[in-house]
């Protein structure tokens, strides 16, 4: 296996009072060493559910998960979906690490930073207390926290938001993981701080040759750091490809809509934004056909009624660039590329 992480046909369903929530529906993603793979999509599109699946954090008793999530650890690889919990635990934090969106609440308020870091090491290296402490200080300075010895003895609430996210990153890196999952790592931060953190992630990746699965809804962030991108809509991947493919020749109408609707610095301010009409669907009440169909302006280009009645497949002429749409790809390619160019000027 050349990839560090391979998600295949992942489906996650939550039974709720109102019915089954199909939060993730047939998602396949892979991450190779040194690569940054991004998942973008609107709120509720299933990004977090996907990422939590990767470290097996869903409650297995109530959540229905199918498909496979292969994680590579040196020579062996483990399927998180079916592996026993103990085994998964030995992978968490060591092979796959995760940092979360909200650095304010993701650190335990009652423990000192240093001990929280050391604990992450100790889980996988039982008994090696001294090493753990040393590693903790090392990691703190690596993520750019000044005076690590002093700061390690402080509590999370004594840290600012950006600092905390650095601590979270340090904690995730305590065991030199192969894959880092970053679920909206900068959403809660200010732009200037966001820039610091993104830079940090980039530098670390270069040094450690990690695979990063970056989850975000901010297209700007994606453009800045991702190598490959998966666009999610209503639990499904609607388009995947290299950053340039996605940003300069999007094939899915949703991706196009998204790109057109963001205001950009430098674009003419007086013009109206091209909003996508309507609302994202409820996951319990998905249309039978294409989930985006109710908001799509290109339905007329597809075969009659296919958008409403048939669910499109994730297809593409090239292996690296695929999308879900009933409109023939040739038609879309030119049309969408032109539109995106128009919007950019």
């Amino acid at each position: 296996m050349k990839n560090l992480l391979e998600i295949k046909d992942l489906k996650v369903t939550f039974p709720t009072d109102d019915g089954f929530v199909q939060a993730v529906d047939g998602v396949s993603i892979s991450v190779a060493p040194g690569e940054t793979v991004a998942i973008v999509g609107e709120s509720g599109s299933g990004k977090t559910v996907t990422s939590l699946s990767v470290i097996g954090l869903h409650n297995r008793k109530v959540t229905q998960i199918t498909g496979s999530i292969l994680v590579k650890d040196k020579d062996e690889s483990l399927d998180i979906v079916s592996a026993p919990l103990d085994k998964i635990r030995s992978y968490r934090g060591r092979v796959v690490s995760m940092i979360f969106q909200d650095p304010m609440s993701s650190l335990h308020p009652y423990y000192k930073i240093g001990s929280q870091l050391a604990e992450a090491y100790l889980v996988h290296h039982p008994g090696k207390k001294e090493e753990a402490n040393k590693k903790a200080l090392e990691m703190l300075s690596l993520v750019g926290i000044p005076e690590p010895q002093v700061r390690a003895k402080e509590y999370p609430h004594q840290f600012s938001g950006g600092m905390r996210q650095r601590v979270m990153i340090a904690m995730a890196l305590m065991n030199d993981p192969a894959v880092l999952i970053a679920d909206e790592p900068t959403t809660a931060l200010d732009v200037t701080v966001q820039a610091q953190i993104l830079q940090l992630l980039k530098d670390l990746q270069k040094n450690l040759n990690m695979g990063i699965l970056l989850i975000t809804h901010d297209l700007g962030v994606v453009a800045q750091v991702a190598d490959r991108v998966h666009v999610m809509y209503a639990g499904r991947i609607v388009e995947q490809g290299n950053v340039d493919d996605i940003f300069y020749s999007p094939h899915a109408p949703y991706t196009l809509g998204l790109l057109k609707s963001v205001p950009r610095i430098g674009s003419r301010g007086s013009e109206r934004l091209k909003a996508i009409p309507g609302q994202p669907p409820s996951l319990i009440n998905l249309p039978i056909g294409c989930a985006f169909a109710p908001r799509c302006e290109y339905i007329s280009l597809a075969d009659e009624n296919s958008c409403e009645n048939l669910r499109p497949q994730l297809l593409g002429n090239s292996d690296s660039h695929k999308s879900r749409c009933h409109v023939p790809e040739e038609k879309r390619d030119k049309l969408f590329t032109a539109e995106i160019k128009g919007a950019r000027t």
Partner: protein, 331 residues
């Protein structure tokens, strides 16, 4: 930090003083003539008047209170002539029903109540927190169901029903726990007698509180389990046991300690029912008896004492909270 403690201690003292004024005032303006009540069957106005002078009720209210207050620090003398006697400091007055200085009565009753409260506390905390943890861990499954049945029964059964049940069935009918006739024996003297004396009262008290703490622990733990930092702990690869017992319990510790501290303080004056059912010569029973007999000096003293314990415990809990929660500590 010391400044904070000092300030709180100052306010606590002030509150105690205020409470004592209110309590003393409330009881003193009541339509009772303690002088007449201590006067016996064949009573003449002259006797009542003499009693009044002896008890100090002939003085204006504020002087009475002042005598009471200064008695706490200086001791107080009652009676006249050769029948004069002193209740040495700290004196909380003199009970004419019991012919004892209230302080001596307190000294007799307090150890019983304290032992009762602490023993019950140990049981309820262990059972309550343990069950609460189990219920949270196995949420929705049978340990949870069992614990919620326990919670419902525990909170719905009045103490006197459980207490009577224990006394009549467990002790007398089934003879599981032998009846203790000798009264309070310190554990240092005879652990067996000590246990015999306290075990059922402990259980009676503990059931109610254990039920409450089960519910409380369960809710707190469940809430904590939903916190982001618990997700972080899991993402580190920690086992569920460590997540639950270390990370979750650490966060639940502060609220549980707070409410446990206040509850145990409440028990000092609140174990009335248990004490009267099991005939424990503690503070509660003593007060109840004093209430029946309008023995006001005892009632005033125990009420103020109980309030003092509550206030002091409040203070301790506040300070402890500061130590338990680093976020508060730093402020």
């Amino acid at each position: 930090m010391p400044r904070f403690i000092l300030r709180r201690a100052y306010f606590a003292t002030l509150t105690i003083l205020l409470v004592s004024i209110v309590v003393y005032g409330v009881f003193s303006i009541l339509p009772f003539d303690p002088a007449a009540l201590t006067c016996g069957q064949k009573c003449t106005p002259a006797i009542v008047e003499a009693n009044r002078v002896k008890l100090g009720f002939d003085k204006p209210l504020w002087q009475q209170y002042w005598l009471f207050l200064s008695g706490i620090f200086l001791g107080r003398t009652y009676g006249a002539g050769s029948a004069e006697f002193t209740c040495p400091a700290p004196s909380f007055g003199y009970s004419f029903n019991e012919n004892m200085c209230v302080t001596d009565m307190l000294a007799e009753a307090l150890p019983v109540t304290i032992n009762l409260a602490i023993g019950a506390f140990v049981i309820w905390i262990t059972v309550g927190v343990g069950l609460g943890l189990l219920a949270a861990k196995f949420r929705g499954r049978y340990p949870d169901t069992i614990s919620s049945v326990f919670v419902l029964l525990g909170t719905s059964l009045p103490t006197f029903v459980t207490g009577l049940f224990f006394l009549i069935y467990v002790t007398i009918k089934w003879k599981i726990v032998p009846l203790s006739l000798e009264g309070f024996t310190p554990i240092t003297e005879s652990p067996v007698k000590y246990l015999q004396y306290f075990i059922l009262p402990w259980l009676t008290l503990a059931i109610l509180y254990a039920a409450f703490y089960t519910r409380f622990t369960r809710a707190t733990v469940l809430e904590t389990l939903g916190e982001d930092y618990i997700r972080t702990a899991r993402a580190k690869g920690l086992s569920e046991r460590v997540v639950l017992l270390k990370h979750t319990m650490r966060a639940a510790l502060a609220p549980i300690t707070t409410s446990a501290g206040l509850d145990i303080a409440g028990l000092i004056g609140g174990a009335i029912i248990t004490e009267s059912i099991f005939n424990l010569a503690g503070l509660g029973r003593m007060t109840l008896q004093a209430v029946y007999e309008f023995d006001l000096s005892v009632v005033v003293a125990t009420t103020i004492l109980a309030a003092t314990v509550v206030i002091t415990m409040n203070l301790i809990v506040d300070i402890a909270y500061g130590y338990l929660d680093p976020r508060v500590r730093m402020k």
